[in-house]
Amino acid sequence: MSVARFWRKIPHRYNMLGTKCETCGRHFFPPRSFCPDCRRSGKIADYKFAGTGTVVTYTVIHTASEQFEKLTPYVLAIVELDEGPRMTAQVVCRPDEVKIGMRVKRAFRRIATDGESGVIHYGTKFVPVE
């Protein structure tokens, strides 16, 4: 991913900054500037997510694309944030530890490196809540 394409989303990737529709209370991550439910009557404001959630489903990736090969096997999950939206993210735990319903919280981690001397991308992974 190009530097600009990544940098553009840094506030969202680093800080879990999303939006909220103040008309209906629905939260959006990644952020949306238009509420699909309220449409033009939706009033959108920035919202910083608490970063806690629950594992909805998961897999353990054994065959990855080049950028992630060194990480295998790694846990990938769909996490439902406590505010409602779901996101796809890695969970930093042993492959046999992950299960549906597991409580997790966000952690700031290195996601990938572009090539040998490339840019290091950071973002959100999740860790189990003790």
């Binding site: 394409r5 998961y58 897999t59 990736i61 065959t63 080049e66 990938l76 549906i100």
Partner: protein, 388 residues
């Protein structure tokens, strides 16, 4: 709206075709389809070509014009349009051809699909296919395409009674059918053990749960039904064409284990064809992974949610079952050249309805369905065909 019929169909063999270029593939498929319809190229009014990612796979864009040119039709100046919807590119190209003829705008239209996937390393093709999902919010965090379907499988197996062995039986059945299809990439039968002992890709999916990397092309020709017998004695009528969309990410879906776009497109298609799923004699579904076939036969209404594992284990989807699924071998055994798959599904149903499917022929097949999925279900095309 005019009735539309398929008057010709052709398909290359599928596989790792080291000696064939992208251009060789579509020229071969197109020539086979024209020959089948007893047509010469200059009679074609328009062409739609399904292709997912020639830009990434062979660094070539502008596929519509390239194909018309190499089909020898550059000086004919016929309109030629590329259609892209990831793995559903072929199904959507076919639908565009049907719409063009049904509208009365064009008469003789080619719908083709082509993908040349083996000119890049496997790591690069894995990454390219990840572009069928959401690059920024799925691919970027380490999701692979098999990984996303694996998360469907985990969710499904947590909620419904599907055993690992039943899931393997999808691949076993599709290899059995592939062994009876001369164009299939894999011609050998396998056992449950073959699947369970193959390398893990993304838990719980193993290598033999996954469709392969494939080169191939397919082409069909559609025309107004009223003119079809000028070209063939066995026209196949297009009874329905439906297409539906859903969220690009898997995590935003209403239900992880249901492809709502399949449910909706399936319902629309049955309504348009004025039939029920009980009238369907065979169906080609989009089994890019074994779990995808499980979801598809439920989402299309052939069995209830949660029962597809038992349905498969009971042999209901086999060649001699109540609803034969993927008689071609499906994406798993016939192969999955992404942009060509949707057209190959039409090619298979046409062969079956004409009674030309050889060792995998479904006796007396009158109505067939195709189901083509883009990404993890963000685009679905469903078509229904009948003997004219």
């Amino acid at each position: 709206m005019r009735d539309v019929a398929v008057i010709g169909a052709g398909c290359t063999t599928f596989g790792e075709k080291w000696s064939s270029s992208f251009r060789d593939l579509f020229v071969e498929a197109g020539a086979l389809a024209l020959e089948d319809a007893h047509l010469s190229g200059e009679k074609i009014d328009a062409m739609y070509v399904g292709n997912m990612s020639a830009g990434r796979f062979i660094e070539q864009e502008h596929i519509g014009a390239l194909i018309a040119d190499y089909a020898g039709l550059a000086t004919h100046h016929m309109p030629s349009t590329r259609v892209e919807a990831a793995c559903a590119s072929g199904g959507l190209a076919f639908r565009q051809a049907v719409i063009a003829v049904a509208s009365g705008m064009e008469d003789i239209v080619v719908a083709a699909g082509v993908e040349k996937m083996t000119d890049v390393e496997p790591g690069a093709s894995t990454d390219t296919l990840t572009g069928a999902a959401d690059r920024e919010w799925e691919g970027f965090v380490g999701a692979t395409f098999p990984g996303l379907y694996a998360m469907i499988a985990t969710d499904y197996m947590h909620r419904y009674p599907l055993t690992r062995e039943q899931l393997a039986l999808v691949a076993v059945k599709n290899h059995y059918n592939g062994a009876r299809n001369p164009i299939a990439q894999f011609q050998q039968e396998i056992t449950i053990d073959t699947v369970l002992k193959s390398p893990m890709v993304a838990e719980p999916l193993r290598l033999f749960d996954c469709s392969p990397i494939t080169d191939g092309a397919a082409a069909v020709i559609v025309a107004p039904l009223e003119r079809a017998r000028e070209f063939t004695d066995t026209p196949i009528k297009v009874l329905a064409s439906a297409q539906a969309s859903d969220t690009i990410t898997l995590h935003d879906r209403r239900d992880i284990s249901t492809l709502d776009a399949s449910v909706v497109a399936g319902k629309w298609a049955l309504k348009m064809a004025r039939c029920t799923h009980k009238d369907i004699d065979l169906v080609e579904v989009h089994d890019c992974f074994s779990i995808a076939e499980i979801c598809a036969i439920e989402d299309l209404g052939f069995c209830k949610k949660g029962e597809a594992g038992k349905f498969t284990a009971d042999g209901e989807t086999a060649l001699n079952g109540t609803i034969p699924v993927n008689t071609s071998g499906g994406l798993k055994a016939c192969g999955h050249p992404v942009g060509a798959t949707g057209i190959k599904q039409v090619f298979e149903v046409v062969q079956q309805l004409r009674g030309e499917a050889g060792k995998r022929q479904i006796d007396g097949a009158k109505i067939g369905m195709t189901h083509n999925v883009g990404g993890t279900g963000a685009t679905v095309a469903v078509h229904i065909f009948g003997r004219a």
